[in-house]
Amino acid sequence: MITEKGFDSALRAFEGLKGAIETVIVGHDDVVQATLIALLCQGNALLEGVPGLGKTLLVRTLASALGLSFSRIQFTPDLMPADIVGTDIITEKDGKRQFEFSRGPIFAHIVLADEINRATPKTQSALLEAMQERTVTVGANTYTLDEPYIVLATQNPIEMEGTYPLPEAQIDRFLLKATVAYPSITELISITERTTEGAGITLPAPVATAENVLTARQAIRAIPVSAGLREYVSRLVMATHPESPYATQKVREFVEYGGSPRAAIATILAAKANAFLEAEANVRPADIEAVFFSAMNHRIILNFRGEAEGVRVSDILDEVWQSVRAV
């Protein structure tokens, strides 16, 4: 049971964390928010954007500000699962040879899976257990990952040649998908100023601890969501199913698969985390609105017609959002 003191201390810690990140990252408020939400919800986030927008820097800054371990995996087509999770190697100890597990980069608090769609599905699936179960199984041994644990994956939406789109099962395991957009002109000026003057970018010192993160995770689960809003979220998710009575015209025409129950869970959890980060004691409709698109857009699978006509998932979700009302 979270105490008021623990709640407030966690809240303060995350306010400090946000401030620390903002000292490094210019703009991208929604991406920072999505990353923190994923961290609070014990989830993972998919960051989509072209190279050079600061995705890796964001993850590094987060790890630095939290004082947590960080590892970066550059996904390539020849990357093997053992390269990620680790492997048993023969070691000699006391004159006896034995297998010893050598941990891969997945064993860190914050893992950056850079350009995840460049690896083969087999390698991509090596992340599944870690992302969902927070465990890694190698051979007959299962290893538990340290908390807080989060996988932040990036993918390039433009360069599709030689890529392997993430399978539905894996993509559903990302709590949120945030689109990293180009910075505005003022943000770009600020970026150039920070990176080209003085000592350049300096990663922040830790302002929060793993304990703060775990406390905050308890805090967001204590935040109440009214039954009406739960129903609202459920109707929103159901409306993305083409066969649902709540489905909109575009959903019926262009969607193959809608949001799973995991989508509803993600939306409500993310809304709670958003409320927490906004220092609110309850989930508001505004919180649901803030996370709905990022929690749903990677879970909507277009049908052939939708793909052929170049329908954007965001347009479909926008129609769903407009058609379903809370009251």
Binding site: T3, E4, F7, A222, I223, P224, V225, S226, A227, G228, L229, E231, E280, A281, N282, V283, R284, P285, A286, A326, V327
Partner: protein, 469 residues
């Protein structure tokens, strides 16, 4: 106010508003059904609605609405949803509903207190979050309008005086009489060969035959009104169809005006019978006004007009009838047998006998005119002259009709005014008479009888004067 009190008040008000809304729709639905029933019954099927049914039709929607209201008043509501709706209306960002949620799950949580503190400022305005639903206002207004409409139509229906189609009944009656007349014609043909032995001997049979013939013509008055009968029941010698129609009409009109069947006096009822049998336009017009009257006063007024019309018609007819005949009161036609004999023609039909010879079929009013016994402050006009109010002054005698008739006697005893028979002025016994065929033709013409019927009458009088039976 605490959060708990807010929840309690909100739940109560929500239940009440929901009950009102559903009750309003039920009220509207029931009112629509009532209106449909009323419209169909009154405007389509022509069923007249009695006050009890109107009361039911107007009252049932209220009852249905009340029942739905009471049924839903006790049923629980989804308070979480209600509070969320309140949040939206008050712009509270789901504060009330979240407070309710955490109150149900973790009432001791610090977050509950925090939320209550945040929501406290909105507690006083909680009613604004649960306004009176527009749907209730609309449905109630619609239902009310329909109920008012039902009531108005019902009142219109209840106060409507149904017009019993006396004239159609009369036509039916006449048709039946025509059939009877044809049978009578056949019977008369059979009797044609029989001899008339004398007026005295014929008087007995003539009396019965005359009655039968007049009855065939729809003019018989043997069973005339017994005005003193209790409850004003109609006992007229008219066709049973006409009696039934009059009974129905009187019953309906009397009930409508709340006076039962005794609404009209026997004399007024009798006037209606006479009017129904009359073909005079003025009488028919007056009868129409009676039948179409919408209130008791109108009926009374129309009846008075009807009585006047009957009187006028009768007087005019009598004057016409006797334009070529001198009355027995010593008028210009005093050369008739009545005067010559020094014994005035007996006038009957004053009481139970009713008389067999009322020429027009008009009953009491006509009789009063004839006898001069009417309570008229002005001197009555009698056969075109001013008649003395005292029968003795007029030279007329009023005799009771004998209850038994012998084969011999004065035939005048059995004849009444208007019968176109002239007695021999030199014959004081009154045992012989002659028929004025011109007058018979005039009278029959005024009756609008068929040629066959006219022929039968003519043959009948021929048989009398020629000694037939």
């Amino acid at each position: 106010m605490t959060a708990g009190e807010l929840f309690h008040l909100a739940e109560k008000r929500s239940r009440r508003l929901r009950a009102l809304t559903v009750g309003g729709w039920a009220f509207l639905g029931a009112a629509a059904a009532s209106a449909l029933y009323t419209g169909l019954a009154w405007y389509v099927f022509g069923v007249q609605l009695d006050p009890l049914r109107i009361g039911l039709l107007a009252g049932v929607p209220w009852l249905v609405g009340l029942l739905f209201f009471l049924a839903l008043l006790r049923r629980p509501v989804d308070l979480g949803g209600v509070l969320l709706a309140m949040d939206y209306r008050l712009g509270l960002e789901a504060l009330f509903s979240s407070l309710y949620e955490i109150d149900q799950r973790s009432p001791t949580s610090f977050l509950r207190k925090r939320l209550e503190r945040r929501a406290a400022h909105a507690f006083p305005e909680w009613r604004e979050g649960l306004p009176m639903p527009l749907r209730f206002v609309l449905s109630s207004a619609g239902g009310l309008l329909l109920v008012i409409g039902v009531s108005l139509v019902g009142i219109q229906s209840a106060t409507y005086v149904p017009s019993v189609d006396l004239r159609a009944i009369l036509d039916e009656m006449k048709e039946a009489q025509r059939m009877t007349l044809e049978e009578a014609e056949d019977a008369a043909s059979e009797d044609e060969g029989a001899s008339v032995s004398g007026i005295t001997g014929a008087s007995e049979t003539a009396d019965g035959g005359l009655d039968r013939l007049l009855s065939d013509l729809g003019l018989a008055t043997d069973d005339r009104t017994t005005s003193e009968d209790a409850q004003g029941a109609i006992e007229v010698g008219a066709d049973p169809l006409l009696e039934e129609a009059l009974e129905t009409w009187l019953g309906e009109v009397g009930e409508r005006f709340g006076h039962g069947k005794s609404f009209l006096t026997p004399e007024q009822q009798e006037s209606l019978v006479m009017a129904a049998q009359s073909r005079e336009p003025i009488v028919q017009s007056a009868l129409d006004r009676v039948l179409e009257a919408g209130s008791r006063d109108e009926v009374e007024s129309a009846l008075a007009d009807l009585a006047d019309a009957l009187r006028e018609t009768q007087m005019g007819q009598l004057a016409s009838d006797d334009s070529t005949r001198v009355t027995p009161a010593g008028g210009e036609g005093s050369e008739s047998g009545a005067q010559g004999s020094g014994k005035p023609l007996a006038l009957q039909d004053t009481d139970t006998s009713g008389g067999a010879g009322s020429p027009s079929g008009s009953e009491q009013a006509g009789q009063e005119e004839e006898t001069g016994l009417r309570d008229d402050p002005e001197p009555s006009t009698f056969y075109g002259q001013t008649a003395p109010t005292d029968p003795s002054e007029s030279g007329l005698t009023i005799e009771e009709v004998p209850t038994s008739v012998s084969d011999a006697g004065d035939v005048r005893t059995y004849l009444t005014l208007g019968v176109p028979i002239e007695f021999d002025s030199n014959e004081s016994e009154g045992t012989s008479a002659s028929v004025d065929y011109d007058r018979i033709d005039m009278i029959l013409e005024s009756r609008s009888l068929s040629a066959d019927a006219t022929d039968i009458v003519r043959k009948y009088f021929q048989s009398i004067t020629e000694g037939g039976s």
